[in-house]
Symmetry: C2
Subunit: 93 residues, 2 copies
């Protein structure tokens, strides 16, 4: 019984995903290079490409709301440069 409850708890671990993008007015040289390369390869109908980062954070936290709050805290303290980047917590499971 205890084992089952422990297993259940493990299964309820939250995985939270975050997308980090450059703010709209910040230049994205990587995106520009990729755009140019795709253009040279024949993909001619692209207006713009912007690159961002993506993190999946697998936490021991089981409560969705708390897990998201913690990830938000991690973003502000380490993962995101708030001067030039925005972040969006897109999901959890």
């Amino acid at each position: 019984m205890l084992q089952k409850s422990a297993q259940l708890k493990k299964e309820n671990n939250m995985k939270v995903s975050v997308i980090i993008t450059l703010k709209k007015d910040v230049l994205d040289p990587q995106g520009k290079v990729i755009h140019q390369t795709l253009n040279d390869m024949g993909f001619n109908d692209i207006n713009e490409i912007r690159q961002g980062k993506y993190f999946v954070i697998d936490t021991k936290e089981t409560d969705e709301k708390i897990a998201k709050e913690k990830v938000k805290d991690m973003c502000k303290k380490l993962l995101v440069n708030l001067v030039i980047e925005d972040f969006k917590i897109i999901g959890s499971q």
Copy 2:
């Protein structure tokens, strides 16, 4: 009238987003370093962090299905290393 139609067309340009992640069994050293750093900062309840890439591709294509197909093609030909990475087209607007 023509101008309005052109404007409408511009507004209907598709923006397609792609998430690129390392396959499950591929080592993610960047994720490990971030995990360790967050751990040292006091976030002790993390099981694992995995980092990925994110692209927003703004195309001139107005048909959602065609736009997604083109982005899939770009992923296979340039953006994604299919040996070690997976990709997921997550949305368009």
